[in-house]
Amino acid sequence: MRDIVSVTGLTKQFDRLTAVEDLSFSVREGDVYGFLGQNGAGKSTTLRMLLTLIAPSAGKIHIFGEDIAVNRNKVLGKVGAVIEKPDVYKYLSAYENLQLFAKLSGCRANEKILMDQLAMVGLDARARDKVKTFSQGMKQRLGIAIALVHDPELIILDEPTNGLDPQGIADIRNLILYLSRERKKTVIVSSHLLSEIEQVATRVLIIDKGKKVIEGNASELFDPSQTIVEITTTNNERAFLLLQQSVWKEYLQPRAALSIRLKLDRKQITALHHSLVSMDIELESLQPRHSLEDYFLQVTSGNQHVDTYTGRTL
């Protein structure tokens, strides 16, 4: 599978705030790429940089093999996007909005094509109604219809289920699956909810405070037999170097400030412990995380999160 999106060393600095720092990832053809992170983690900033809405402070973005900074229009012609709320012209009808954006996308869509597009998102019956009378869910679906009107190869959806009721969330999830499986589109979908990404994504990237935490295949990341082991030692830097030179290299996750993380099978934990002792690494703690969600909350929590069932602070 070829890389549709390739991001290298992407950084965005707003005055003194670093929103995204040295982020690298790639999205392959046919992926439903889950972009996961807490609110303010840098997801929207990254997606806006992919769409040239924000200029990167450093780094390179290639989409369809083209440098987005050089061939912007050529690339965007093959991309459809909904960034945050799908705001459209409230004084126009759904049909008029779709027609207007089809024109801007360089798409010569006739009435049948536009109505089919609205039917796909379940808005054909409300095609002639002004958007100001629409619910949030309907606006979201119209936004997706606009993103798809020119039949793009890559679809970018930023928090597409925000503000939707359970039925609306299910509709969007089904639509993403339909686009991926039936229409063979590559989709990047961001969310701060792991459960949403878990149900649709084939590959996942978790970011926190603008930095990559973990990237991998969803089937592996969400595999219940797999776990993230977090270790702290008296000298993390030395321990990380030793692990890099050992058989555990392939299990190592990107460096974190205060700990070392490895993703492995639960059964390997004892072997890891023995290796650490044999390498003369002085352990302070070794904690297997129960699930990706547990790990996600741990690594991405700026503030404390409270488990509503147990009252335990994570």
Binding site: R48, Y91, F101, L104
Partner: protein, 291 residues
């Protein structure tokens, strides 16, 4: 580019706010016409009270041309606000609605997008002035008829022959369009820096009021900057109604007293438009869309 301009014009003319200016101009001119039709003679008596003893004017002073001049003098001070209502909303309104980010995810260059918006704002400005011309000139010609135009300037009077007036109005409206486009380009520039329309509208009007005060103040220290203020040149349309006289002190039909001053004013306004639009493009190309 043409598609972009079409889309922008479509958006402008589908918004109810656009028609506020057309409705306001219609109402204001309607009131002036009603008042002058009802009590125009009193107005003329008041206008002529100081010179009645020294000048006798034959014919109908309160004619369509006269009423048009009165309307233009009154309205061209207020039209900038109506222009700013739309021009200063062109980008900030989209940022406020959240549609700007959706527009810019489409395969359109930012420069073309912005220029299409400016051309649409300029078209709106020109259409507003055409509407003003229809009501203030053509309708008044129908209602009040036509005759010679008698104008009282600060230290002299001008009498323009009936057949020597219409072309002056055509040029005057053309010049007014240039002046109002300058206002539109200023509002357009301000609209890049805000995410609601109120700020840019107020900022545009504040600059116009401030510069107008500076332009009209007769304080020597400000005299050196007056030629560079666009507000000084916005009233250049009045120059079309100043006529040259020959050695026998007779008016030369078809002449303008100081055409170079009109050209100079037009160039200053044009330069301002180029600067404001150029600055808009420069800012917008680098702008991060965070709305």
């Amino acid at each position: 580019m043409w598609t972009l301009i079409q889309v922008e014009l479509y958006k402008i003319f589908r918004r109810p706010r656009t028609y506020i200016a057309f409705a306001a101009i219609t109402a204001l001119i309607g009131i002036i016409q009603f008042g002058l039709k009802l009590d125009g003679d009193t107005y003329v008596d008041f206008m002529m009270r100081d010179i009645n003893s020294s000048i006798t004017v034959d014919g109908k002073i309160l004619n369509g041309y006269q009423v048009c001049y009165i309307v233009l003098q009154v309205l061209l001070v207020h039209v900038p606000l109506l222009i700013a209502l739309v021009a200063a909303d062109m980008v900030s309104g989209e940022a406020n609605m959240g549609t700007l980010r959706l527009m810019l995810t489409k395969p359109i260059s930012r420069t073309r997008f912005l220029l299409a918006k400016f051309i649409a704002a300029m078209t709106y400005t020109i259409l507003l002035l055409i509407w003003l011309a229809v009501l203030a000139l053509f309708l008044n010609m129908v209602i009040f008829g036509t005759d010679d135009l008698f104008l009282m300037k600060s230290s002299y009077v001008v009498l323009l022959k009936k057949d020597d007036i219409f072309w002056r109005y055509v040029w005057a409206f053309g010049f007014a369009a240039l002046a109002m486009t300058t206002v539109a380009s200023l509002g357009f520039l301000f609209s890049l820096f805000a995410e609601n329309s109120i700020g840019p509208i107020v900022a545009t009007m504040s600059v116009i009021v401030f510069f107008t005060i500076l332009s009209t103040l007769n304080i020597p220290v400000f005299n050196s900057i007056k030629p560079f203020l666009f507000t000084t040149h916005m009233i250049g349309w009045k120059e079309f109604f100043d006529i040259r006289v020959n050695e026998s002190n007779e008016a030369i039909i078809g002449s303008i007293q100081n055409p170079w001053r009109i050209v100079q004013s037009a160039l200053v306004l044009l330069l301002h438009i180029i600067c404001f639009v150029g600055a808009s493009v420069w800012v917008f190309r680098k702008k991060d869309i965070l709305s």
